[in-house]
Symmetry: C2
Subunit: 215 residues, 2 copies
């Protein structure tokens, strides 16, 4: 448990104290389950597994707004602004979530939490990482053509792993919901790219053949 980043550099005893102090609650969910139980003001931290923030709009389009891995965070705070339509938080795998009272975390704590400032520091690191992920997301979505969205996405995955052969962490239908494009149009474009020798691909396995310095 203390391998979760939010409690980095804090002893187990301290962690127990603090969890009490922040009214921390752990909950487990199974794959496919929808998380609806979290109150506003509370912050969810993904301890294990992957959750996805999904929007269904009025036209029936499904959009994966965010894909949150271990040590990622979510909460009303982060998407209460303009979201219209139906926002759902779905578990892509079995997951464990820790909920904490965010306001409390931000305030000075009058109890025994001597490591509170370490916690804030850890939180800063987690939120910074979220910002970087979101920036990358904007980079992909800001591409003006389907092909460039795909290339930017492939490059992103490839850079993470350092390999030219990548395995897309989604089903291809989910990838199209993540790139906000039509699934068949996306597959058509991938086919074209295969024909032009830019990539090699079969289902979720893609090998980059184009010159990555050019895109």
């Amino acid at each position: 448990m203390s391998d979760t980043r939010i409690f980095d550099n804090i002893t187990d005893e301290e962690v127990d104290q603090m969890k009490n102090c922040f009214k921390a609650v752990n909950r487990k969910y199974i794959e496919g389950e929808r998380i609806s139980s979290f109150e506003s003001g509370s912050l969810g931290i993904v301890i294990t597994g992957v959750v996805e923030i999904i929007r269904f709009d009025f036209d029936g389009n499904r959009t994966i707004l965010e894909c949150i891995n271990e040590n990622g965070i979510f909460g009303e705070l982060f998407f209460s602004q303009i979201e219209e339509g139906d926002i759902q938080i779905i578990c892509a795998t079995d997951v464990e979530i820790m909920y904490i009272d965010y306001d409390h975390l931000l305030k000075q704590c009058h109890n025994a939490c001597s490591h509170h400032s370490t916690l804030i520091r850890n939180m800063l690191s987690i939120v910074s990482e979220k910002s970087i992920k979101l920036s990358n997301r904007v980079e992909v979505l800001s591409q003006r053509t389907l092909r460039k969205k795909l290339i930017t996405y492939f490059n992103m995955i490839s850079k993470e792993t350092g390999r030219k052969s990548i395995v897309i962490p989604f089903s291809l239908s989910n990838l199209s919901d993540y790139l906000c494009v039509d699934r068949s149009a996306m597959l058509r474009e991938m086919k074209k790219m295969r024909e032009e020798g830019l990539i090699d691909s079969h289902a979720k396995k893609v090998t980059i053949l184009y010159d990555q310095t050019m895109y």
Copy 2:
């Protein structure tokens, strides 16, 4: 100066100490100037004015990736991941930037900085706000049609001000670069929306006539 959020709840004397400690440097730029002087590892905080993070891609498309207002932050950290093409940081107005050594800010400080933890707390608040802005950005860009991008954007501005008449903070050309669509296509769509009675608009002034609960 101490009205910048990063130094909230820290006395002026303390601020001076800390600025020394983080090698903080303030620089002023004029409207239209390009910021190129910041080193990797250093973080820019917008003290006054607005800066824009712009990408020019290989096809000559201009994209406004981010628009950073007072108390916003930028740095290599936040866009070094996958960005290809030419990223520029341009001053949309006269601006003043404070640069600080980010690594130093994150580490425990051995000097006299007793308020270091307050600073981290302030930083957390600033980075959280950045995340929220980026989430909103993703929300807009994830819309599948030009019309829905416009509506989502208008709603966002309208929600901020609480008014149905809004003034777009960009020129319309810049708005199209922000929404990542063609300028003429955008203007055509706005014209259609005018004809359908969904909005009233003249240049940067837009009045929302459609039912905002429906979109």
